[in-house]
């Protein structure tokens, strides 16, 4: 006798009435409801999304991907490799410049979203996760500079310690401890940036791209609780 370990048959059975209360089934329904395939990987977008400023979100994500990839190569070879090898120095340069590009694209993206007032229409969480990703990215880059094991690391660490000590955080976040800063740089902070970025992107997919300001919005009326930005072009209500 064989046991079917998975496949489409089981997926279909999970929607049977007796399984409706299952935690797994509920989670799947919530996921599919929030992120139907067409919203998660869209092939259409509103016609107003027609400006170069929209490219900077994708460029920021692409630069982050390159930061992670080059960082993985540096991690595989270890922290001293790039000081001793020409290939290592090149990979370190790729890591450095992808970080510089990441911040440049992210700042342009942030200002673009500010001038679009992109928090409108129940998109406040999208704005907040984006800003938090920016702030945590600064900490991630800072610990990277502290982990270089060269003059820059020494100088930045000895200068930065006074500010961080003044907040009381220096007791737990010692910028002169190379081992601690390396762990923050290659594990804790990338994890935080990755999670925030994931939530940010999912919120963008769920809420959609913010519509333009109406030419004359002053007379419009919106009922409380009616509509969501996720309903763009679907039910015609005005979201909040």
């Amino acid at each position: 006798m064989t046991v079917d370990a998975g496949g489409p048959g089981l997926a279909a059975q999970a929607d049977l009435p007796e399984d409706a209360a299952q935690w797994s089934a509920r989670l799947r329904r919530a996921g599919v409801s929030a992120f139907p395939p067409g919203r998660l990987l869209p092939d259409r977008q509103p016609a107003y999304v027609a400006s170069w400023i929209y490219v900077f979100g994708a460029l920021t994500l692409a630069a982050l991907a390159l930061v992670v990839l080059s960082g993985i190569v540096l991690a595989i070879e270890g922290p001293t490799w790039w000081h001793l090898s020409r290939v290592g120095l090149f990979v370190n340069s790729m890591h450095l410049w992808s970080v510089e590009l990441f911040f440049f694209f992210m700042v342009v993206h942030l200002w673009g979203k500010f001038f679009m007032a992109a928090w409108r229409g129940r998109r406040r969480a999208t704005w907040i996760t984006g800003v938090l990703a920016f702030v945590i990215s600064i900490a991630a880059a800072f610990t990277g500079y502290l982990s270089q094991q060269n003059f820059d690391s020494q100088w930045i660490g000895t200068q930065a310690k006074d500010g961080i000590n003044a907040t009381g955080a220096g007791a737990f976040f010692n910028v002169l401890n190379f081992g601690q800063m390396l762990m923050w740089h290659i594990l804790l902070l990338p994890l935080a940036v990755g999670l925030l970025t994931l939530v940010h992107v999912l919120l963008v997919r769920r809420r959609g791209v913010v519509p333009p300001f109406a030419p004359d919005p002053g007379d419009l009326v919106v009922p409380d609780g009616a509509g969501t930005a996720g309903d763009i072009g679907v039910d015609g209500t005005v979201g909040r």
């Binding site: 027609a50 410049w97 409108r120 907040t167 002169l176 030419p215 009326v221």
Partner: protein, 331 residues
């Protein structure tokens, strides 16, 4: 028949900086995977080009050995302040030691004092006496250390003050510190031996491996090096001092952490250029500003800025142009 108005369904006024009029207009084809792939290729090419042309900086670190070889007098003077307990590190306060009255405050609040000492540093023991004890048995040095550690603090102070005055006019000749004879007690012997130890490279190892074989914590040697003027002079030559926009810069002609410009800006302007609480105050300002940035969607005056400055008309110019071209104003 319509339902009576209740707080739950009563219409509220449309607020253009908070609400949106949902889109009922046209949708156009959009390939999100293709867009990301193209973006990645662009970033990859840019990073490759910048890496090939500009590489990345890797200025060798300062070691105790390189410091004491290039600036032996600066090393000796700094070591003496560590022994005397008068160096910046020895008088720093939390988290390194409990020197009273030196913690930075925001109003009446001193966060570093609240947290207390977490990385204890006793500069006399950690930087001078304990490393000297690791040297091979030398009767003269052993006697000198015993004499210093058994003396009263007042006697220690007399010796270190006298030797400090002598070091101000000292010379370094043939690998030895040369000072006029004076009442320095054992201090001249100890600092002289420590300088020789530092120039051999042995002090670097002694400071890092004082607690365990695998060392990754460079707190003590970095604090020691930073107490001298050698590293600061190297940094000044690279335009890295605090009044030169400090740590946001990087050695060589590289952009460094330009995203720290706002944090670094405060250190360039009064009252932060002279305040003894500058670090605490600058961090307090940055925390408030960061919180304001996070909370922009909730701040009525700030969230109205985009609508009032009207840069959005540039971003959505095609959309508004298409609206203007339609008689009924629909998209």
């Amino acid at each position: 028949m319509s339902a009576p108005a209740t707080p739950a369904n009563r219409p509220s006024r449309f607020r253009p900086d908070r609400d949106v009029e949902e889109w009922h207009g046209r949708y156009v084809p959009y390939d999100i995977v293709k867009e990301f792939t193209a973006a990645f290729l662009v970033v990859l090419l840019l990073a490759l080009g910048l890496s090939i042309v500009l590489s990345s900086p890797d200025e060798p670190p300062v070691t105790i050995k390189s410091w004491s070889q290039h600036a032996p007098l600066d090393f000796a003077r700094t070591a003496l302040t560590e022994l005397a307990g008068t160096s910046p590190t020895a008088t720093y306060g939390p988290p390194y030691n409990s020197t009273p009255g030196v913690s930075q405050t925001i109003g009446p609040l001193s966060l570093e004092s609240l947290v207390g000492v977490h990385h204890p540093v006793n500069t006399a023991l950690d930087d001078v006496i304990d490393p000297l004890k690791t040297l091979p048995a030398d009767p003269t040095l052993t006697v000198a250390i015993r004499r210093y550690t058994s003396a009263t603090s007042k006697t220690e102070q007399v010796w270190t003050n006298a030797y400090g005055a002598a070091l101000a006019r000292a010379r370094f000749v043939d690998g030895r510190l040369v000072t006029r004879p004076g009442g320095y007690g054992p201090v001249a012997e100890m600092i002289g031996e420590l300088t020789t130890m530092a120039r051999s490279g042995a002090l670097d190892g002694a400071l890092v491996s004082s607690r365990q074989f695998y060392g990754t914590d460079y707190t003590k040697p970095l604090l020691f090096i930073a107490d001298g003027t050698y590293m600061a002079n190297l940094a000044a030559a690279q335009h890295l001092q605090g009044d030169q926009w400090g740590m946001m810069n990087e050695t060589g002609n590289f952009p460094g952490q330009s995203w720290l410009w706002l944090y670094t800006l405060w250190y360039q302007i009064p009252p932060f250029t002279t305040s003894t609480n500058a670090d605490a105050l600058v961090w307090a300002i940055m925390v408030v500003l960061t919180a304001l940035l996070v909370l922009v969607p909730f701040l009525p005056g700030v969230r109205a800025i985009p609508r009032k400055v009207r840069i959005y008309r540039l971003i959505w110019r095609r959309h508004y142009r298409s609206l203007a071209a339609r008689p009924n104003g629909t998209a």
